[in-house]
Symmetry: C2
Subunit: 246 residues, 2 copies
């Protein structure tokens, strides 16, 4: 059996997230159906992690076992011919038998896109969070600095009470602005449920001067989800990249 | 009565074009409904011109008469509150009584966006034409040069037999490439039905080396729609700007 890795992009707008759920359109089911049509095998795909309803991916990674004889590049095009237009395979490769897209993921990079211009950009409406508050990106960046490194991120986890460790390490956290657009890039060795969106909701409260910059460190310290800002909308969030090597 | 000008953007994907048609969702009807809800007047809007099903606008211009007392900037926000999320008013202004968005339009600028990368960009799938042929943008630009200036563009008009003059003047026609993206900007004193899309379909045949560059001048000369290339898909076309002053 081959062990095949795919890199996927999808527009999360019309999916109920990644994971298979009876009666709901999910990315996992859509991909598995395409693979079944193509190979006539029953294939279960293993993703680097789930994404929630409405969250997008530029570089989701999955692996699966198959006996197909198609070369990887031909396989990629063949899968794409069986996929709807809101999910696409960007790369395919044969991997060593031991490769596991979930277990071997070392870091993930998410991007959150915010538009704070006076009028919503309707061509980007599915792919950003629009706010009418003008945000102070520099204040947000200063406030976010305390989140870098290894911390207990329980304050930014929606699941409560959580059952496992909520300690994670953020290796990168940057905020950029160009014109009316802000984007926050955050890379970590793993993410808690809704963690990026809770961080963004907290930083927006700083950026709109509703909270002082010092509040973010207090929220982190509190280990209490009720202290953080609201969960920012899914439409602004993109899984950009999954890294497998250190 | 005030004479109010609006600049509109819309995502044409889910509209049956600009013009009111019974039982179909059109931009005109959507805007007139929003104005009626807001002002309790029966308002008929007058656009610079129609756009077809699936064609987008960044800078469509309309004018209408109203007795509303709302200042223009407040009116803009109020209209937007009554519009669905695929159409937005970007500007509003009071105009002299004589201003007519259709009759007074001096030039229109359209942009057509083509993506020729190996994998479709799914986040742009509603807003570009994807082709798997790698296009020679320089050859397309050379071939397009003969279209600049005043010509009878009957070869690029879908309506047949047409009833009025098909002579128009193209004041600008440029083609740019960045990475896997091409965009064609064409400005003229007016456009025939499907003219930009027929020009694009013709130039794509040149860009993919299916036709020689010299073919475009022959097509123009022929004054026969069957000589031109296919009508390129609506999704790549944007009405960018309408100019009212020379």
């Amino acid at each position: 059996m081959r062990n095949i890795k795919l890199i996927l992009s999808y527009d999360g707008t019309d999916f109920h997230g990644w994971q298979m759920q009876p009666g709901l359109r999910t990315v996992q089911e859509t991909l598995e159906n395409a693979l079944a049509e193509l190979t006539h095998e029953r294939i279960r795909v293993n993703a680097s992690g789930r994404t929630d309803t409405g969250v997008h991916a530029i570089g989701q990674v999955v692996n699966f076992r198959s006996e197909t004889k198609l070369p990887a590049d031909v396989l990629m095009r063949a899968i794409n011919a069986h996929l709807p237009d809101d999910v696409v395979v960007r790369a395919a490769a044969d991997m060593p038998d031991t490769f596991d897209a979930n277990r071997d993921a070392k870091r993930k990079l998410y991007r959150y896109i915010i538009h704070d211009g006076p009028v919503p950009d309707l061509f980007m409406r599915r792919y950003c969070h629009h706010t009418r508050y003008r945000l102070d990106a520099a204040a947000m960046a200063r406030a976010a600095a305390c989140l870098r490194g290894q911390h207990d991120f329980r304050s930014f986890e929606t699941e409560w009470p959580n059952r496992a460790s909520s300690v994670r390490t953020i290796t990168q956290l940057t905020i950029h602005r160009r014109d009316d657009w802000l984007w926050l890039d955050v890379e970590a060795d793993g993410f808690l449920y809704n963690m990026v969106r809770a961080i963004v909701g907290t930083l927006i409260n700083v950026g709109r001067s509703y909270w002082p910059e010092t509040r973010v460190a207090e929220v982190l310290e509190a280990r209490d989800r009720t202290q953080a800002g609201p969960t920012a909308p899914a439409r602004g969030l993109f899984l950009m990249r999954v890294s497998y090597e250190d």
